[in-house]
């Protein structure tokens, strides 16, 4: 990310960045859902699986990370930046 220094010369850059942030926001639940299913693989692989406490720790750590990433993304995204609107800067 660009630091909070001078505004970028090309506005299209900010617009581009916003779009990619949206992509990340869309992808996050998909990745999270897949990772939440991981404990299913552990128990079936060798019959014994991981101890319950390990599954518990895994789930909560995952949960925490997802919350942190979601918080970061939601702070960076500017909801006023309408994706449907064609920005003149993007065409330059």
């Amino acid at each position: 990310m660009d630091g909070p220094g001078k505004p970028p010369v090309f506005l299209a850059r900010a617009s581009y960045r916003q779009r990619r942030l949206r992509d990340a926001t869309r992808l996050l639940p998909v990745v999270a859902a897949v990772l939440m299913m991981v404990p299913l693989l552990w128990s079936q692989s060798d019959g014994l699986g991981q101890p319950t406490s390990a599954v518990l720790i895994y789930m909560f750590v995952l949960w925490f990370i997802v919350v942190v990433i979601a918080a970061l993304l939601s702070r960076l995204i500017d909801p006023d930046h309408e994706p449907g609107a064609t920005n003149i800067e993007d065409l330059r």
């Binding site: 639940p29 999270a32 404990p39 406490s53 518990l56 789930m59 949960w63 918080a71």
Partner: protein, 893 residues
Amino acid sequence: MISFNLLIFVALCYVALLFTVAFVAERHAANGRVNWLRSPVIYTLSLSIYCTAWTFYGAVGYAARSGLEFLTIYLGPTLVMVGWWWVVRKLVRIGRAQRITSIADLISSRFGKSTSLGVIVTVIAVVGTTPYIALQLQSVTLSFAVFAQGSGQVWVAEDLNAAAIWVAAGLAVFTILFGTRNLDVNERHHGVVMAIAVEAVVKLCALLAVGIFVVWGIAGGPAATLDMIDQSAISEWSPVGGRWVGLTFLSAAAFLCLPRMFQVLVVENADEKHLATASWAFPAYLMLMSLFVVPIAVVGLNLMPPGSNPDLFVLTLPLSQGQDGLAVLSFLGGFSSATSMVIVATIALATMVSNHIVVPIWLSSTARGATMSGDVRYVVLLARRMSIAGVLALGYAYFRVSGGGAALAAIGLISFAGVAQVLPVLLGGIFWRGATRIGAAAGLLTGFALWAWTLFLPSFGSEGIMSASMMAQGPFGLGWLRPQALFGIDGIDPLLHALVWSMLLNSVVFFVVSIFTFPTPIERLQGAQFVNVFAHSSSPRAATQSAAGAEDLLIMAQRIIGSGQAQALFQAAAQKQGKEGYLPDVTPEFIERLERELAGSVGAATAHAMVGQLTQGANVSVQDLIAVADEAAQILEYSSQLEAKSAEQENTARALRDANEKLTALSIQKDAFLSQISHELRTPMTSIRSFSEILRDGEMGADEQARYAGIIHDEALRLTRLLDDLLDLAVLENGQVQLNNSEGSLRGLLDRAISAAGVDLGELGIHRRAADEQLTLFTDLDRLTQVFINLIANAQKYCDAEKPELRIRVRRVDGAQVIDFTDNGRGIVADHQALIFAKFSRLTDSGKAGGAGLGLAICREIMGRLGGQIDYLPGQGGAAFRVTLPATATRPR
């Protein structure tokens, strides 16, 4: 051990606190200070009604029975909120654009404002939610019973029932008080939301406190707790793939479809940006709520005597350790979880029942429709209050019939699966233009029937509705219809079985029927609106021929959303069209805007029907509509600038037309005035001349002399009055007037005006409300009094009722202080309303008026000089004038 009476006292104090919080929040909102009431934090906390008593008590029980599977119930909503950019954002945007009042309203509105779809979704919601409300009542009564037992009483069934009925009644009172204050849901329930936010904090703190006590106080630290978990019965659990995935999906679906979640997520949302905060804060809340569930369950299983109910560990564990304070906190947490869920669920259901079932029935049963029958606003509010009581009564009845006892989690999941049947139609409706009303109805009915057959009815047990033989062999021996093994596929977990079949067939039927049916024009319009909500922020207009007079619409709107708001709406619309006053032209845009505003109160289908009754529109050709719809909408987007320009021209043209009409009318009036004024001047002059001639010739008695002199004097006075008026107006118009500002009370001013107008002698009855008139004014009091005198005198002169009456009401409208003068006469016909303030205008030629038609013109000039205004207020059942005081005139006391 804490005494039972003390607990009751604490609970009552807590309830009083909630009432206070709600009341204070409402007061703040009423004073316009809503900023902190509407912060993202409050929004996030209000979402926490997802965590009901089922979470607070039930999650521990669930963990004790099925290990980590309880997590799936909170993972689903986490995924939905983290993925807000996919669905939730669109739902909220649609909810705001279309002024959606409930999930039934969303579905009904999307599929052509269909009443029948609204009814179907409402029925599903009521059937799915009633057991859940019963569950909350059960959990509160059980927690009371725990404390009763501790203080030596043993509760039997009657005690539980009595407690349940008290709780239900209390909740009904709270919900009716704070849930039906505003009819328009877009004004939102500030009090309710605030109380829920407080409850959200209480339940989180309570569960965390119990968890911390258990981990550090009993188990001896995190490491020891983890060891304990691995050695407990819970560790024998291993995840079952189908259930893990299925339940995560189910909870995600329910999070979107539960009526109460839809209420807080979409309807009560004040700002779309709050979603950004809630997208991570709500998952964090869920994570904290689930953090200590497993430790509490494990420690509870270890310490509590075998056979004790794991659903109540959160409460019984602190009690058994002698931690009375913690136990009370935990009790309050459970109490909060249960009550907040019931309150919001009841509001949501009551809105749906009243908007989609009661009001449509009432509308069709009253012959003359919306304008003629009584106060619609009152009917809707009454319907909503009755629905609240009805929903709670249903919940209580279910509680009595089911008798409690079943594991809390089971009812919760059955409920979830029921409301999740709305999901395919919901998602199809907002993402797929091709979805049709018939397809939606077919899908919903299929899903609902399958859910009832495979899950809901069997849940009553073998002595309930379904006999054991029917479960084993199917109805009439049809094996492939066995409720828990449809089509002969056996051995699946019953919940998963029901979920897979109902969702699958629901979606397939919805899809296939949609493909083979053709949508009506309104459906296609609404479909484009919903699916492309981000692309067209403006909505396509219904091509309605406007047969309705604006005044009729205003009268109806006043009945539904209240007079102040309706007038503001009409005035704004008129202003936008470049017109003055309260009556805009009835254009399709205006009709559509009005319909959406009304939908905020009574739902889209009803609003559409009501406006339809007045406009007699909707009989537009299919070609017309399709032309306006999708394709045209895209062209419109590109030509929006052109459109703006043409709209501007249209406004100018309209203003010109109005001005022209006014001028023509005025010139006619002016001619009439000239002959009038010469007549008015001539008559006194003639009598003065003739009587003075008689006097000059002399030869009469002193009596006659005095009489003639008196006549001359009177006529001269009349002349002076007329000339004074003319002079006054001329001075005002030229802006040469000097204002003498001073301070005085509005009440005194009105008193003075009434006695000066000579009302005391006449037959005009005056109604005032003294309490509203306690205002101190700082302005030119003499001039203001002159305006009041004029208005009162006008009512006295022109009110043609048998028993003339004048109401004077002081109120605030949009932050401005206004005084309304309304009489009970015939009022002024619309054609003349624009003219009355013009000088020289007089509507009747009757001589009794005795003025030259300058009064109102002078009033308008005076109010203009004072910085306020005076308007004619149509649709009040008589002639009504509104005096708007300048902002500087009123001072806070």
